[in-house]
Amino acid sequence: MSTVPDLPASGAKAGAATVVPAAASDARQAWRRLRRRPSAVISTSVLGLLVVLAVAAPLLAAAEGQDANTYHDALVDSARGGVPIGSFGGVSGDHWLGVEPGTGRDLFVRLLYGARVSLLVAVGATVVQVLIGIAVGLAAGLGNRLLDTVLSRFTDVMVALPMLVLAIALTAVVSADFPRPLLLILVIGLLNWGATSRIVRAQTLTLKQLDFVAAARLAGSGRWRVARRELLPSLAAPVITYAAILLPINMVIEASLSFLGVGVKPPTPSWGQMLSSAQTWFRADPMYVLLPAGMLFVTVLAFTALGDAVRAALDPREAVRLRVGTRASSRGRTARTARAAASEAAAAADLRKDTSS
């Protein structure tokens, strides 16, 4: 199925063909396959832990006895550019992950609060993108030729726009009183829904031709009812898959915007903002750079792994093919891979049985 955002109609159609059998009733099957994948389990655990850390940030800060914004001028060496005193960026019993150069603010607490911004913006922007993408994609797929043309060309324009440049311009002109995380969600969400819309449209065009949709139409269902009852459930698989891919992308965009100084407002921390201030410190205080960079890396990796697992779980044929390829190239893990492939094949068989019944 198509997970590549910039592959237009052809890719989407090919993908559509494979996804068609996966109807809503297969959700349990997909869920079972997903649970069997170690990558899915690990990445979900990591993300779950991150969410817990972000939500519990005030509690954890209280446990450490620090907050995000208090300056500790005595903990940095003013004569040496404000580098934290002590090894590993000033790690101590009071400051578990050290302090920020120049200010002495606690890095542990700032990382936790930074996780809040990063996760909130990434999830929020993804929701906005998916909602707009479904709405525009469905309308284009179901509407008449004129509507389809207009919406499709509009989508093309949105995809072609230099997203980061526009986002910088928008975030720079909006009033300073507007809440920044919400602004970031809106800017990223409103500018980057094009690919989702294309996938939904292609899927809709394919589904429209199928018997069960035709049957629904013949039975007298209106367009809206067809869209809601017949199409949306079938669209879930590709949309969820693509959303899992959008999440890490959005997180990186937030980090880029904050890195460029148009993200969250100081003193609110975000990982991108921390990376931005840390960029010159990579030699003098490596901890300062490695902490936000590591967090961002782990989170984006976990999201990506989860997205990949979801895609595979919803797409048994693709999964089997991939596994076979892996076995041929890496002999060391043959047994394990074969076992996995076997289970995938069984799952695929289950699916076929389900759809045929």
Binding site: V76, S78, T103, A176, P266
Partner: protein, 574 residues
């Protein structure tokens, strides 16, 4: 109406260090600098070799009429000699004006409206032809031509008839207020007393230009040298400049420039991190390299701190400059003196200085004038905040002002991370005012929007970060644009942020401008600064300090307090 355009241009360009944009250079805290210079420059400097200059800003203007310099600039000063120049000496001694082409720093008439200079004997251009006073007059006149704009605005403001003069191309009769009674004498007639005229005569507009060789805007490609070096190559619009010895320059007529290296290779358009990395590695030609516009950032300083050999190759530069919190008393609640005083008391200068790069890169400021004698520095601290602020006193004042439960204000800053008007400094201010019950909302503006806002009379925010540097080390250009009520610019770039207009202050500024005894003038500028300070129209935060790294083979390091960077005319590589 005087400084605006050129000054704003200059200040806007000053991204990392002001000194950089002005082509100013210099350096070296008088105290620790001498010791370092000794350590790094063992052995007597010898003539010969090739000096490499690594810079960020390309020398895209190399016409003496178009250069906006302080004291004649760094690289330009190797090619253009001027009537007077800055004293090439370490520290405070380097803030003096000394004669260059002229025999003295100028002979004023009784009220300092007429300045007479006599040229030294034996002055020659690179082609061997003699330099005459008419060439200097012509050089000044060219800077009035529209196609050669860019220099400091003072000439147009000060010279009689300067406001309407269109330059020698449109008006070949020349400017009547510059007289050349003979080949060696030149007289300038000013429309008002200006005791600082010798400082202005250090600018490259006072370099001689032979009329026969002038081809307007193209002159910068092959300017005729009067200094120790001539331009052999100027590539990529000033990105690469190759200078070689001028055989007709003589040390006998120039006691300021040493000109030790045979060639000077100026490479610019480099990233500051790259420059500092190359200087620290010092391999190959970079061992004989210096920079005239790049300083070390806090992280680079922290990195160097642990390396003694490297630390010995760092010069310290001071430059007359003040970073401050500006109030616009037309905006509430900053019309209330008590509120302004409360903020002055609450400020934690330790946090602010750490945000600016730490104690090695910034010195706490309680006066508006820079902490240098040349400016007339008179210590005062009307609202003593101590090292870390006095929130108790601030709360008390807020109560008296009618804000017993604290207040909420906005602080406008730039989003550029320059450690001057940047988010880091704004956040440090926010945090220190929080202790006094003042909630600060930060309003970050992109660089152009930020300058537009703070330089506007009508749209100026009530409370914002600002900074100021003078064109030469004297109280006049430092205080007048900020506190002279007649310099409030209604449409254009206004630097009198407080829109302060006090007839007594205006009168005192006029009186001091009449003084030709610079020491006496400095004393009165200091007293004036101290008096204006009582109004709490601003909160001085810090004076930046510049750390300059140089290559391992470089000798004879001289960094004056005028420019704050290594003087390239003193450096030797053998």
């Amino acid at each position: 109406m005087r400084q605006p355009s050129a000054r704003s241009r200059r200040l806007a360009a000053a991204a990392i260090s002001l000194a950089l944009a002005m082509g100013a250079a210099a350096c070296s805290g008088p105290q620790d600098n001498d010791a370092k210079a000794d350590g790094a420059s063992k052995g007597t400097p010898q003539k010969g070799g090739k000096l490499t200059v690594l810079n960020t800003e390309p020398q895209s203007d190399f016409d003496p009429a178009r250069l906006y310099t302080s004291g004649g600039g760094n690289v330009p000063s190797l090619v253009f000699r001027t009537l007077t120049t800055r004293n090439r000496a370490n520290g405070a001694a380097g803030t003096k004006v000394v004669p260059d082409l002229a025999t003295d720093t100028g002979r004023p008439n009784a009220d300092a409206t007429e300045w007479t200079y006599t040229l030294k004997e034996g002055l020659k251009y690179e082609d061997g032809t003699p330099i005459t006073s008419a060439d200097i007059k012509y050089g000044v006149e060219r800077s009035f031509a529209a196609e050669l704009s860019g220099g400091a605005p003072y000439l147009r403001d000060w010279l009689v008839g300067g406001a309407d003069y269109q330059g020698p191309y449109k008006d070949p009769k020349g400017l009547a207020s510059i007289e050349t009674p003979d080949d060696k004498t030149i007289v300038f007639k000013l429309r008002k007393p200006e005791g600082d005229f010798p400082f202005l005569a250090t600018a490259t507009q006072f370099a001689p230009v032979p009329k026969a060789k002038d081809d307007g805007a193209k002159y910068e490609e092959h300017p005729v040298s009067s200094g120790p070096y001539k331009v052999v190559k100027n590539e990529d619009d000033g990105r690469r400049l190759l200078l070689e010895r001028n055989p007709n320059w003589s040390e006998k007529t120039d006691d300021q420039r040493h000109a030790y290296p045979d060639t000077i290779d100026v490479q610019s358009g480099l990233d500051s991190a790259v420059i500092n990395q190359r200087l620290s590695t010092s391999s190959g030609a970079d061992a004989a390299a210096v920079t005239t516009d790049t300083n070390l950032g806090p992280a680079e300083l922290a990195q160097i701190g642990s390396d003694k050999a490297l630390a010995a190759r760092v010069g310290t530069g001071h430059f007359g400059y003040t970073n401050y919190l500006a109030f616009n008393p037309k905006v509430k609640p900053f019309d209330n003196l008590k509120v302004r005083q409360a903020i002055s008391y609450a400020i934690n200068r330790t946090s602010v200085i750490n945000a600016a790069g730490g104690s090695a890169l910034a010195e706490p400021a309680t006066t508006f004038l820079p902490d240098q004698a040349a400016f007339g520095y008179t210590p005062y601290d009307h609202f003593p905040a101590g090292k870390t602020g006095n929130p108790a006193k601030a709360k008390e004042l807020l109560k008296e002002a009618g804000y017993p439960n604290g207040l909420t204000i906005s602080l406008t800053h730039s989003t550029v991370q320059n450690r001057e008007t940047s988010p880091e400094v704004a956040t440090a201010v926010q945090e220190s005012l929080k202790q006094a019950g003042i909630t600060v909302k930060l309003v970050g503006l992109e660089a152009n929007a930020f300058n537009e806002a703070r330089w506007s009379v009508t749209k100026s925010p009530g409370f914002f970060l600002s900074r100021w540097g003078a064109d030469w080390p004297s109280g006049g250009p430092f205080l007048a644009p900020i506190f002279d009520g007649r310099q409030i610019v209604k449409d254009g770039s206004n630097f009198n942020h407080a829109q302060f207009d006090d007839p007594a202050v205006n009168k005192e500024i006029d009186e001091i401008n009449k003084l030709t005894d610079l020491a006496a003038a400095a004393k009165r500028w200091g007293a004036l600064d101290r008096k204006i300070g009582e109004q709490a129209l601003d909160v001085p935060l810090f004076h930046p300090v510049y750390k300059r790294l140089y290559g391992k083979d470089v000798k004879n390091i001289v960094i004056s307090d005028w420019t704050g960077v290594l003087d390239v005319s003193q450096v030797a590589v053998k």
